[in-house]
Amino acid sequence: MSNIIEIKNIYKTFPNGVEALKDVTLDVLKGEVVVVIGASGSGKSTLLRTLNQLETVDKGKIIIDGIEVTNPKTKLTAIRSEIGMVFQHFNLFPHLTVLENVTLAQIIVKKRNKQEAEEIAMELLNKVGIADKSGVYPTQLSGGQQQRVAIARALAMKPKIMLFDEATSALDPEMVGEVLDVMKSLAKEGMTMVVVTHEMGFAKEVSERIVFMDHGQIVEIGTPETVFTNAKSERLRQFLSQIL
């Protein structure tokens, strides 16, 4: 299998002087599910956001599906539409209905016609179990329902990679399961996923590899078994003891 994501020695310092990423290198295989863990502020979100260039890097290279996204000459809109992103706070478009949330980018970015876009949208809303709410506005939905719509919205672009940034952290506990279930079924279908999460159960169950970050660096990478039972670094052991 080939690498769909190649991150090579990237650095990122924010204007306020915070070094969010320091020499991070990581490859992700096609179809692989990689979970990123680490304390708050360790650079997980920043790493994820450099992949679709919501954040630029100061140094280093990122190659997605053969395209170097860190090259300033690369046209980003096309490659971004192939990388779905799911946010902690859903970020649905409040002025659009659920259906419109899922069709808008299909129509204006992918240039699909309205009917085709709606068919794809309904199929995906069905899949995430929320087709009956297609006509309502996001604010009328629960957090779990909103997050499932957000996943459908990202999937509608037929992405090659899905990024999840603490997709369940803002949810009431009883809604975490419904969102994790959708993510698990995506993983089973072979979607390439990079998932930032504190849900260790999810990490154990579906991830091929776990990446542990601390202070802007990847400290350890390993399979769930090695990470959870046989952590090499002291910092990882400490992190796990706090979270488990």
């Binding site: 679709n52 919501l54 809109t77 096309a78 971004r80 539409s81 192939e82 990388i83 779905g84 992103m85 946010f87 706070h89 970020n91 649905l92 478009f93 409040p94 002025h95 808008l104 980018a105 204006i108 970015v109 992918k110 506005y137 604010t139 957000a150 919205r153 990202a154 672009m157």
Partner: protein, 313 residues
């Protein structure tokens, strides 16, 4: 129940206070020996004009029926002419261009003409101001220092100087250099002035939209234009509607200042009438009321829009 009763009491108090103020104005004006001539005022809004009707033919008046004169011409044909108030009788001989009488027609008086001018100026100024406001508002939040500084300079210059001075500069300087019609200068000055305020409203509106909206749209592959058009602007406009409408209302009121460059708007029409009638109180009250009709209509319309938009969420 008791709060309802209280509210009623206060409402009655309100009516009494208003009547009291009205009475005070009446009493104080009678002290200065002012003669109120309200009955002249309607004619400054609409009046009946006499339109003289001249005979188009040579002949003899045969009959007058249903406000129509029947004139038999020399070659025996009957010519029918509508005349509401004839000044000729059956049997009179008329020549071409002889006056047959007059018709009455309602015409806009100077105040109504002034109101139309105020509406026209405000309408065009609002359109231009919105365009200026949109462009400058976007420039203001641009990361490009040229665009951003241009916008800041414009906004600060305009907001730091009086509109009256700007109108003079626009008319006497810019207007002279570019040979601008006074109307164009007036509309231009107003639009440039209000545009700066609208730009700030739009900037604030855009910046009030959660940054997650931008990130979600960008991550779906939208470009800047699509992001603005489909995601940011619809939300920002909805959010800034009350402030923008307030600015439109300001614009209508501020438009009275263009009367200084001899545009016959509602204010100038009022001033002109006063010089010939010596009824300043009635005219200024009427002018104020006419402005109020415009601004209050706009205010009601905005409230309606807000209610309709609120349903969307």
């Amino acid at each position: 129940m008791s709060t309802k009763k209280n509210a009623l009491l206060w409402n009655i108090a309100y009516v009494i206070v208003i009547i009291g103020i009205g009475y005070f104005i009446y009493v104080s004006s009678s002290k200065v020996n002012y003669i109120w001539r309200w009955k002249n005022v309607p004619s400054f809004i609409v009046y009946k004009a006499h339109i003289d009707i001249d005979s188009p033919v040579k002949g003899i008046v045969q009959d007058y029926k249903d406000h129509k004169l029947y004139i038999k011409t020399l070659d025996g044909k009957i010519k029918i002419i509508k005349v509401e108030h004839p000044e000729v009788k059956k049997g009179d001989v008329v020549d071409t261009t002889d006056e047959l009488g007059y018709n009455e027609k309602y015409k806009s008086g100077p105040l109504l003409m002034g109101l139309f001018m105020t509406l026209k100026i405000s309408f065009f100024a609002i359109i231009v101001a919105v365009i200026i406001g949109l462009v400058t508002g976007l420039m203001r939040i641009s990361s490009n220092p040229l665009l951003k500084n241009m916008a800041i300079t414009y906004i600060e210059l305009i907001r730091g100087t009086p509109l009256l001075v700007q109108i003079f500069i626009f008319y006497f300087f810019i207007g002279t250099v570019f040979h601008l019609d006074r109307l164009v200068a007036g509309v231009g000055a107003l639009a440039v002035f209000e545009g700066a305020y609208i730009a700030e409203i739009i900037r604030a509106g855009i910046q009030s939209i959660d940054k997650g909206q931008r990130e979600a749209a960008i991550s779906l592959g939208m470009n800047y234009y699509q992001l603005m058009k489909h995601i940011i602007m619809p939300q920002a406009i909805k959010r800034t509607l009350p402030a923008t409408a307030g600015q439109f209302i300001s614009l209508i009121k501020d438009s009275s200042l263009v009367s200084v460059i001899s545009i016959t708007d509602l204010t100038k029409a009022g001033r002109e009438i006063i010089t010939s009638t010596f009824s300043p109180f009635e005219i200024w009250f009427t002018v104020a009321f006419m402005y109020l009709v415009l601004t209050y209509t706009l205010s009601l319309f905005t409230q309606y829009l807000e209610r309709r938009m609120a349903k969307g969420e």
